[in-house]
């Protein structure tokens, strides 16, 4: 951050050339800045406004304070959905971060076939989220799925209960399927971080006779701290916002077993067509994802200052 500030300040502030340069900079940055302000900042503010009104899709309503939020938080369906979203997001965060770190550590070793592993690592990330959901849905399907074949044909169990037909099974598969893609992104970022680690640090520790575990906790983790922070933010946001995978897998079912907030939001929009409640749900989602992401990072950087991590 400090570096960027110094760079933005520049040396000769008051010369005519400096002024003309500033004007040029403002001019060529304007389209991007205005587009993003108009297409993200304005809709975000607008969503906040809708959440405090009783507007409908065709009519601007009047302010009604926090009525939408009160309605939301006293609705059982919303509270269930909120709890489910938390469970889902935590499971997704833990699984995709842990797998990503494990893959990166593995691919940072030298072994035969590493080129293949590194080439394959990016493949799940290249899949559209919704395709990930489709593939996993049929992978675990009770009739045609290969999981059934392994469980039954190979004699692990006499019968196969399709996981998507049970409450916990559906949540678990929704977490695993989404982590299949996200762990790939996490691993790519972790691996990029590991590759910038100076060899000397590694070699010095070997001389000191540090154990593998000590090297991991005392050198690798501290070195990766900024990357871990970014990955945790990305995974947290992605977990709270996950829609595509769950939509393709279960559309929120069975029953409401996988109706996380994003699915609930879609239902409010297109089934109940309740603009106020949908906006309030959007606000809750946005605040949760952003807030939690930053809290995690803050905790990690308690002694280092947050800016270094998210820069």
């Amino acid at each position: 951050m400090t570096e960027a500030k110094a760079a933005l300040r520049g040396p000769r502030r008051h010369s005519p050339l400096a002024r003309s340069n500033r004007r040029f900079g403002a001019l060529i940055a304007a389209p991007a800045v205005l587009l993003v302000l108009g297409l993200i900042a304005w809709p975000a503010v607008q969503t906040l406004v809708y959440s405090l009104q009783d507007s409908t899709f065709v009519r601007q309503g009047s302010w009604n304070g926090f009525e939408n939020f009160i309605k939301l938080f006293s609705s059982e369906k919303f509270m269930n959905s909120l709890g489910l979203t938390a469970v889902y997001a935590v499971g997704f965060l833990v699984l995709s971060t842990a797998l990503g770190l494990a893959f990166a550590l593995l691919l940072n070793q030298e072994f035969r076939g590493r080129w293949l592993a590194r080439g394959l690592l990016i493949v799940p990330w290249a899949f559209p989220w919704v395709m990930v959901g489709i593939i996993w849905k049929w992978f675990v399907d009770g009739d045609v799925g290969v999981l059934r074949a392994i469980v039954v044909d190979w004699g692990f169990a006499p019968e196969f209960v399709a996981p998507l037909s049970t409450k916990n099974g559906a949540v678990a598969i929704a977490i695993i399927a989404a982590a299949w893609r996200q762990s790939s992104l996490a691993a790519l970022l972790f691996l990029a971080g590991l590759q910038t680690m100076p060899r000397e640090i590694h070699e010095a520790s070997l001389v000191d006779g540090a154990s593998t575990w000590q090297r991991f906790t005392h050198m690798t983790v501290p070195w990766l701290r900024p990357v871990i922070g970014v990955v945790i933010i990305l995974n947290t946001i992605s977990g709270f916002m996950q829609f595509d995978v769950i939509w393709a897998l279960t559309q929120g079912g069975p029953g409401n077993a996988t109706t996380v907030l994003s699915i609930y939001l879609y239902q409010q929009l297109f089934v109940d067509t309740n603009l106020g409640l949908a906006s309030a749900t959007s606000v809750v989602l946005g605040v949760l994802a952003l807030g939690l992401g930053f809290i995690f990072v803050k905790l990690m950087y308690r002694d280092k200052g947050i800016s270094e991590g998210v820069q």
Binding site: A4, A7, L8, R22, F24, G25, A26, I28, A29, A32, V33, L35, V36, L39, I40, A41, W42, P43, A44, Q46, T47, L106, Q109, F111, G113, G119, L120, P124, A126, F127, P128, V130, M131, G133, I134, I135, W138, F139, D141, V144, R148, A149, S184, L188, L189, A192, T196, P226, V230, I237, F243, D244, W247, S262, Y266, L269, S282, L285, G286, Q311
Partner: protein, 292 residues
């Protein structure tokens, strides 16, 4: 460094698990796409198609399900225009993705260059706002898009989708490109300026070629995002692009997983090829900002 036998074993066992984790779901999908609907449900499971068939791909590329003939009764995509919608949807995905990428490279490139070289009054604030909007989730702001698009008639149009996707990709592009321009030595531009070249000309002729890897990374990331996007396409259009069309096959009364598998394979081939072929650019783009 020599490894103990135990360490080697751990590494190769992990490698095997890694391969299974990534490849197994893919193998099942590709395998299914070469089977007939009646074979996919057979027990015991067929790990290799008995009579490999292109019937699912033919249905998609010819846009009709008649190649199945009598198979229709066995649960093929039968009614509706579901199959014939796939190829045109992919075409529209391609157009939207290319437009989004182009706009990102041009507008994002200009802004990235400005933030890197020509700090203007309020540049810090503007840059901060751009970066902050990167983490605003699309899900949370879809409503105003829906309402405004409805009023101005942009629902279910490629223009509308392109606008929405530009919003989500621009912050990342500006970030990636500013980071990249920062690594391009400034001396070359100064020499060009002394020679009397205008600033825009210097950018186009001298800086842009030097910043090519950054521009490629930003363009590809934007394209992949647009190609893959599902939620906005679902809310703002009636299955205009490939992801919602393919996902829509699942909700048909009569359809077969084998056809869906083939449609999935066809839809993921472009992004997978791009990602693998340009892995270096893409990873450097993804890592900009998170890895120093």
């Amino acid at each position: 460094m020599r490894r103990s036998r135990l360490q080697s074993t751990i590494i190769y066992v992990s490698f095997a698990l890694f391969l299974i984790w990534i490849l197994f779901p893919l193998y099942f999908t590709v395998l299914s796409s070469f089977m007939t609907p009646s074979e996919i449900g057979s027990r015991p499971f067929h790990w290799w198609p008995e009579n490999p068939t292109l019937i699912n791909y033919i249905a998609i590329f010819t846009g009709n399900s008649t190649p199945f003939g009598e198979g229709v009764s066995q649960g093929i995509v039968s009614s509706t225009d579901a199959v014939e919608r796939i190829l045109p949807a992919m075409g529209r995905s391609l157009i939207v993705g290319a437009l989004v990428a182009l706009i990102n490279v041009v507008i994002g490139g200009l802004a990235g260059y400005a933030f890197s070289r020509f700090p203007f009054r309020g540049a810090s604030l503007a840059y901060f706002l751009l970066i902050a909007s990167r983490v605003v989730p699309g899900l949370a702001i879809v409503l105003p898009f829906f309402i405004v698009f409805r009023q101005v008639g942009l629902l279910n149009t490629m223009t509308g989708l392109t606008i929405a996707y530009v919003a989500f990709t621009l912050p990342i592009s500006v970030w990636v490109l500013k980071t990249y321009f920062d690594t391009v030595p400034i001396e070359i531009e100064e020499a060009a300026t002394i020679d009397g070249a205008s600033r825009l000309r210097t950018l186009a002729v001298i800086v842009a070629p030097l910043a090519k890897p950054g521009l490629i990374a930003a363009g590809l990331l934007a394209f992949l995002e647009a190609w893959s996007e599902f939620f906005f396409a679902l809310v703002l259009t009636d299955s205009l692009t490939a992801p919602p069309v393919v996902a829509g096959l699942q909700s048909l009364q009569q359809f077969s997983w084998t056809t869906l598998a083939a449609a999935t394979v066809v839809t993921v081939i472009p992004p997978v090829i791009i990602a693998v072929a340009f892995q270096r650019y893409i990873v450097s783009g993804l890592a900009a900002g998170s890895v120093k």
